[in-house]
């Protein structure tokens, strides 16, 4: 076996693309949020990049993708030792690519999967804006990653019971990533409670161009997420790529169509949200279904998610940036879609029959069981973790902090300091240095003088 440079280049690239998704998500969420909590929202994503990368290398990868010598227990969890601490012993190891005589350095596969772990945890933060203590977030992230993400990834992709026994399919993470994160987001949001003033006040997006750019970066990175999940640059990766583009485009149209009909106006927030809903929904299915089914999936996911984000007003839970309405609902639609349209004509790994390419419920019930299991498990553990944090009083910030803005209270910084005024030579407040003076400047520094303006 030797390293195929083309496949390795493709997976290196895909890993970089998936990494980029988390800053893209930070921008998407940051723009959707009110400005006084933008930085906290972005910090929840950035802290995941920092924390989860290291934890993944230390123990996540071996527990999720290592092989446990106890065959029975291997359905539940991977190896405790195989890749522990990312030893150098396997630095030259190659990950065999099924159906080819070549491999990819195992390190790259580990890096690729690392990026998935990062963004899955970060996705949850969207329902928690403006009121979760940052320290509480860090503890939650570590806990949920360890107790939920790692085993679920093993169940689905690492040789565990969902992939190996149940035979449910998940090409790039509909169940492992989106249902998983969306369900957790609901669990924590319910324990955390509503933002003060919600839903009476308009907590509208503070920077819509950021939302759109964030969606654009997510879309770009998602090609690595989806087409990269094939691990090789072949025809299935190509189909995954095309399906990703078509479903996302169709979902953008679907969401805007709902807005146009219902509100009379399609919005850019809607177009961006629709794109994300499409990306979510096609994720599990992209390597298994034909293009026309992807277009249909996109339209349905876009329209349904556009309607689903209103549910929080009806049921009164404050899923601030609609993680449930988009990721949870979109993930479910995509997962079930496999049961409807998967075909071995697209990917030979499809062995059970789908409803429309085989007239059977055989694949559909497997998808249902897998999705439902992850929904329940993730929701329960997330809610329990949140209750524990609540008990030890590291869950919610004080009312004063929430009204004044969590950026100030938990991070001591504000997102912007710039010019409202059109065509001015710099805004008056900024020129005036109203933004504060250095608190700890030493004597020497103080000697510096202002000049007359």
């Amino acid at each position: 076996m030797h390293v195929d440079t083309g496949n390795t280049a493709w997976l290196l690239l895909s890993s970089a693309l998936v990494l980029l998704m988390t800053p893209g998500l930070a921008l998407f969420y940051g723009g959707l949020n009110r400005s006084k909590g933008t930085l906290n929202m972005m910090m929840m994503s950035f802290s995941c990049i920092g924390l989860i990368s290291v934890l993944w290398a230390l123990y996540g990868w071996t527990l999720a993708f290592g092989t446990n010598s106890s065959t029975g227990f291997n359905k539940i969890l991977g190896s405790f030792t195989q890749y522990l601490g990312t030893g150098t012993s396997w630095i030259g190891e190659e990950w065999k690519v099924a159906g080819t005589g070549t491999g990819i350095p195992t390190y790259v596969v580990m890096a690729f999967q690392m990026m998935f772990a990062i963004i899955t945890v970060a996705l949850i933060s969207g329902s928690l804006s403006d009121r979760l203590k940052f320290g509480g977030w860090v503890l939650f992230a570590i806990g949920w990653f360890t107790i939920v993400y790692v085993p679920v990834a093993h169940w689905i992709w690492g040789g565990g019971w969902i992939g190996a026994n149940l035979g449910a399919l998940d090409f790039a993470g509909g169940t492992a990533v989106h249902i998983n994160a969306g369900s957790a987001a609901l669990g924590v949001a319910l324990v955390l409670g509503k933002r003060i003033g919600w839903p009476r006040e308009n907590m509208r997006p503070h920077n819509v161009p950021f939302v759109a750019l964030g969606a654009g970066l997510l879309w770009f990175g998602w090609f690595g997420f989806n087409a990269g999940s094939e691990l090789t640059a072949d025809t299935v990766a190509s189909a995954a790529f095309v399906n990703t583009q078509l479903a996302t485009a169709a979902a953008l149209c679907g969401w805007c169509a709902v807005e146009w009909i219902r509100d009379g106006k399609p919005t850019l927030v809607g177009a961006s949200s629709g794109a994300v809903a499409g990306l979510v929904a096609i994720t599990p299915a992209c390597g298994f279904i034909p293009p026309l089914a992807s277009i249909l999936l996109g339209i349905v996911a876009g329209a349904v998610c556009a309607l689903a984000v209103s549910l929080k007003y009806r049921f009164g839970f404050d899923d601030s940036l609609d993680v449930v309405g988009v990721h949870f609902v979109g993930g479910w639609i995509g997962s079930l879609w496999i049961g409807l349209f998967a075909t071995s004509g697209v990917n030979a790994v499809v062995t059970h029959k789908s409803l429309f390419f085989g007239g059977s419920l055989d694949q559909l019930w497997r998808q249902f069981v897998a999705s439902a299991s992850v929904t329940v498990y993730s929701f329960a553990i997330a809610a329990i973790l949140a209750l524990i944090l609540k008990a030890v009083k590291v869950l919610r910030v004080s009312e004063d902090a929430e009204v004044g803005g969590i950026d100030i209270s938990d991070h001591g910084e504000t997102a912007y300091d710039f010019q409202p005024v059109a065509g001015s030579s710099g805004g008056a407040f900024a020129i005036a240095g109203i933004g504060g003076t250095k608190a700890d400047a030493d004597g020497k520094a103080d000697a510096s003088q202002k000049v007359a303006g």
Partner: protein
């Protein structure tokens, strides 16, 4: 006529607006200001440098009104803007000699 000017905490604007509305005030003008007073600002941190922000965001509300209503209006503002914490703000009254509605050219009380 009189001009009632109130500098209040931003979060209280809604309450003030509703209190004035209840009194039959049909119009008002608000702007963003920064206040300096007894209430202390907060500290921000950038790459290890700490900065004290002394000015705090406030909302200024201006209402031109009939002389007769001034006291009621001042009371309504004071009551609705109050949180009891330091920094609640000030209300002051000045005399207005003439008011005109731009659209119609009406003057005096008719302009309100």
């Amino acid at each position: 006529m009189k001009l009632v000017t109130a500098v209040i905490k931003p979060y209280q604007l809604d309450a003030v607006k509703e209190a004035l509305h209840a009194l039959g005030v049909t119009g008002l003008t608000v702007s963003e200001v920064q206040g300096y007073g007894r209430q202390k600002g907060h500290t921000e941190v950038y790459r290890g440098a700490e900065y004290t922000v002394e000015f705090l965001p406030k909302i200024k509300v201006e209402v031109v009104t009939d002389e007769i209503d001034v006291d009621k209006i001042v009371d309504a503002v004071v009551t609705s803007a109050r949180t009891g914490k330091i920094g609640d703000g000030k209300v002051w009254v000045t005399a207005v000699e003439e008011v005109v509605r731009v659209r119609t050219g009406e003057r005096g009380l008719d302009a309100l």
